[in-house]
Symmetry: C2
Subunit: 323 residues, 2 copies
Amino acid sequence: MKRNLIPLLAALIATASADPLPSWNPGPAKQSVIDFVEKVSDSSSKDFVPVAERIAVFDNDGTLWCETPLPPQAFYAFAEVERLLPENPEWKDNPAIQALQKKDFGPLLADHYKGLLDIIAKSHADRTPEQFSEGVTNWLETAKHPKFGMAYNQTIYQPMLEVLSYLRDHGFKTYIVSGGGQDFMRVFSDKTYGIIPEQVIGTYSSATFEMKDGKPVLTKGMDNLFIDDKAGKPEAIHRFIGRKPIACFGNSDGDQAMLEYTTIGNPRPSLGLIVHHTDAEREYAYDAKPIASGKLVTGLEAAKEHGWTVVDMKSDWKTVFPE
Amino acid sequence: MKRNLIPLLAALIATASADPLPSWNPGPAKQSVIDFVEKVSDSSSKDFVPVAERIAVFDNDGTLWCETPLPPQAFYAFAEVERLLPENPEWKDNPAIQALQKKDFGPLLADHYKGLLDIIAKSHADRTPEQFSEGVTNWLETAKHPKFGMAYNQTIYQPMLEVLSYLRDHGFKTYIVSGGGQDFMRVFSDKTYGIIPEQVIGTYSSATFEMKDGKPVLTKGMDNLFIDDKAGKPEAIHRFIGRKPIACFGNSDGDQAMLEYTTIGNPRPSLGLIVHHTDAEREYAYDAKPIASGKLVTGLEAAKEHGWTVVDMKSDWKTVFPE
């Protein structure tokens, strides 16, 4: 019975609390989130939305956690290849590995990302999901962000954690819809964001099933790669969820398609929100020219046109990372 | 708050009820389901499983609803092509359509199912998900099963509806994992089985996103077809759910891989169950030689080896379809 009482109590506590988003400064961004959540969950409102349709989707890199100087998954791939190098001495002759060791990323991107895909294969494929999870778990315990010196699962945005909880307390199902690897994010999403594995959608490729010595085994591969970015995001939402979200949170042009899908012509009220990285001191400031990922140009134009909330990280957020 | 009270009340009612599976005759099949559900949901049992991990997967064709003489989706495809024929007079010269009209299914299967894929394309692709749903909804309202004279969403198994409810009342999340089309099943799964769209996994192909005259549009296509059958089932479970189920229900060799994945070497207690179609009078009797789908040979052998429950439809089920 306990399982049914926990959300009930959480909802009661949330209702009683004066401010559901304490890390947000007062202003139109914060207010837009509160107004939206209040109207769709108020059964006497004309904008009421039944619980089953309260689906919210969140990009991860740059929306829930820091994606600069590189998305953490890239650091994982590099670290994993380094870790495996002693067992694979022949890798030393591989141009991609050599480029990586010189921190010369250009060659990795040449020839349709051939080198980068090789690094991803060496760090992600030809292992079981269980082996992969173990590798990510171990890495998360020791790796540190180069600027902040914190574990990558701590360089997450406290104001967005509050939005996640606030939505869930009001009956929303919260999903990640990210260009990051699905298996990668599922290792930490529950503990880090309270988002369970089956609500994590991301980039994926095949995992092949076979019976091996009488045991069922899945082996991660690189074929049938699906990139969950740009138009891929609404396509993945349709494939994995099968209904239109009513709230969508992103930070880059890669999120524009799912923001459009969520907010334009939706028969239900909807909320689109873009986190604009404007805080060079507490985090990073970028839009048109990010270091690696998170380019935001057309998304800002579309935000004006469609009335999406644009969060100015510097002025709208009281704190960035959890204390 | 209502949303939190409903499962609570349902659980209380289920606990108070004497028999959670009234359409099942007493016997080892029924008892195996009850014993499993009781032990995994009893917090004082060594076999207790936390709610988050109580994932149950169900095949659809032949497990939740009747798949004979053909899976209903095939009848839908045929009816939809017939419906569209007047608007597409050139289809009359198409050999697949000609075969269909003569009810001569052989040519549809020749040359790697070329004709059948053409019928599926004409009835499923080049339309939005909303248009597709509308077509299926309209068809379900009028189409009747050739033997039973009932709508296809009534040729469902009452004993399995009881298992679905019983599991959900004990904290299980119930999923469909079927070779049937994902978009097809999502049209009726919630109303018919209480299984919401995001818990329906099936065969799918691409739906392409674009902005068209300023509106977001998804268009169903035929490329990147993923067949959710045999080894594809555990692969899809990993992709969509990201964790191993503890209960798996099927009826054919096509379900064997997901039964193996669920039950062999699972660190949690698990249940595998096969519905054996043994009732020629009330439904159909088939295993090695089904009319179209549902071949069951190696699955029966594997059931013996791995201790899966085999339901004898004729003797284990008091009723087949809902009254």
